[in-house]
Symmetry: C2
């Protein structure tokens, strides 16, 4: 961290993968904060629809032009995509005019792992 | 719905199992509401710790006396257990002095299914 700059204060949604199965033992306070932030990112219906639109799009990525058909305004779409990025569930990359969003599998894998005794 | 009575307005946390994998297609608005409510129930760190305490307890059930060691007051514990019940993640049963809480596997299975392409 020799070259560390002053970093912006991270919102609670900013997380890294973690998380033992919920059936294994009581989570530590720290694990619970991280895991809860991931679940929180998917706790809004519009955000969840946008996320599923990206996740199910061909190649696992989509541009805003592909996924804005969820009945909310463009600024609302942008707001929720930003939240999903902050939570680490999506990454984005600009290519020419459009920003493309892609699912970050490691964070979803962590959530799946937390629930893995229950998965189908 | 011939015999439908006036039902109380359900809180958003009140859910039933559902939910296709998020990678399959864009969720419908209705599916998104149901799925988001389940994720929301686990989006609070204290609630998540309490849930993991029940889920990991011997026999998959616990009484309040077993799980109140998460650093919050008894009323707060009760509040969060109520929320988990409303979301369908826990069921409860009184036996003598104590109320016992048990994980409801079907709701967790629905959440696991939503994430199942990512699970470990």
């Amino acid at each position: 961290m020799a070259n560390a700059k002053l970093l912006p204060v991270l919102e609670p949604e900013t997380v890294a993968p973690c998380c033992p199965p919920l059936t294994e033992r009581t989570l530590t306070a720290e694990e619970a904060v991280t895991t809860a932030a991931m679940f929180k990112a998917l706790s809004d219906p519009v955000r969840l629809r946008l996320f599923s639109a990206v996740a199910s799009h061909e190649g696992g990525e989509a541009c805003v032009c592909d996924i804005s058909d969820v009945g909310v305004s463009q600024p609302t779409v942008s707001h929720h995509l930003k939240k999903l990025k902050e939570a680490g569930l999506l990454t984005s990359e600009r290519r020419g005019t459009w920003v493309f969003y892609r699912v970050e599998p490691s964070v979803l894998a962590a959530m799946g792992q937390a629930l893995h005794h229950y998965g189908g």
